[in-house]
Each structure stands twice: as C-alpha cells, then as structure tokens.
Symmetry: C2
Subunit: 123 residues, 2 copies
C-alpha cells in the first residue's frame, strides 16, 4: 500500500457513516450486504449511502457485485490489513523499543532483536 492509497483509506474511515458501513461489512463477511440493507441499518438515505459506498470503493475498502436487482457490497480485507501494516511500519519506524507488547510480534521485524542474545530456552 502506497501513501496515496493509505491517505484515501484513512479518509474513508474518518467519517462516522463510512466507518459504520465498513464495520458492518467486515462482520457480514464475504457474503456482503445489499446497498439498501446497508442504508437501512446505518440509518441514512439511500442516495447518501450510495455516495459513501462510492467513496469506500474508490479507496479500495469495499467491492461490489450485482445480484439480481440488488448490488451487494463486501469488505476488502486485503486493503484493511494493508492499512494496518502501513500504520505498523510507521509506528515502529526506528523505534521498536516503544512498541506495545501486543503489537511487537507483527509490528517489529522479528529477526532484528535489539540487544539480548541467547535468551530462549537455556534448557
């Protein structure tokens, strides 16, 4: 994920309605949800949800497919995890010692342990 796409993705998530949509689509899984169902559950006008879905799609956060009369939207998990990794790359950039324990495993390069050698299993 390059900076441009990350900026789009952040912008897409920086709005209550869109964040809600992404969350419900993530939970819905690959099956996705019809635009109308999204609008109803999110409590916004169909034209407005369409506007936001277009934005999310442009940011690569969701995909769509037609199914009979409905258009089904579903979350794009690759973009989501790409964004997480983009954030993590910056998070620890140069300063892995600051990393939260919960994140350290994925966030910081496992090969490059700072100091401390010969610690695992003294047996």
């Amino acid at each position: 994920m390059d900076e441009r796409q990350a900026t789009l993705a952040f912008g897409a998530l920086a709005q209550e309605t869109r964040l809600n949509i992404v969350r419900m689509l993530v939970i819905a899984g690959p099956a996705g949800m019809a635009a109308g169902a999204i609008a109803e559950k999110a409590g916004v006008a169909p034209s407005n949800v369409s506007f936001h879905l277009k934005d999310l799609e442009h940011a690569g956060m969701v995909g769509s497919r037609r199914e009979a009369r409905s258009i089904i939207y579903s979350a794009n998990y690759d973009t989501l995890s790409g964004l997480i990794q983009f954030l993590m790359k910056d998070c620890c950039a140069g300063h892995p010692e600051i990393c939260t324990p919960a994140l350290a495993a994925s966030c910081c390069p496992p090969a490059k342990t700072t100091k401390r050698r010969k610690v695992l299993q003294p047996s």
Copy 2:
C-alpha cells in the same frame, strides 16, 4: 480507544501534510522536533503547520512541550498503537480465518483456535 477518538485519528492521518508530520515525528522519537523545523522539512508555511499540529494534538496523535523559545512536538505512540488495535479488532471481527498471516498473531485472539486441535509438536 473509542470510536470518536478513532474517527479523529483517521481524519488526522487522511491528509498529506499531517501524515508527513506524523511520520517524521515517529522517526524523530521522544526527542521530537520544533514546530519551525517541522514546517521547513514539510515545506509548508509556519501558520499552516501550526494549524495541522493543533489538529494532530486534538486527535491525540502528538504532544507538545515548550523548550526555550521553541515548541517541541513529539509523536504519541500510545495513540498510534491504540489506533492499530482499533483497526485490528474490526479487521478480524467474526472472521479470523481471513486474517493475513502477518497479522494473525496480534490480530486474532490466540486462545480461540478454530477447529484443529492437538496439532503442535506430535513429537
């Protein structure tokens, strides 16, 4: 991190100048950078950088301290990792099987392995 703060944080990162600022502050570490230095390195007018820094501070992404005549800004790593965890919570919500291998460790609850038992070390 609650939804409100996450929305602020996403909004803060959804802009080229601010994203640049955050990145340079993350790299700068706890020492941080003076507002003027940030403005120069980012290539924007001081008043403009001040505007963006205020936004970043409001979102909890950076902190500031006065040091002689300068005001030093530094990244808030807690917010950054909090945001990552906020994203990860959503990423896998209900669908850990989709998780990218690189993320699975931090992203998906390690206790709840789906199916497949008695697999480690058949010895």
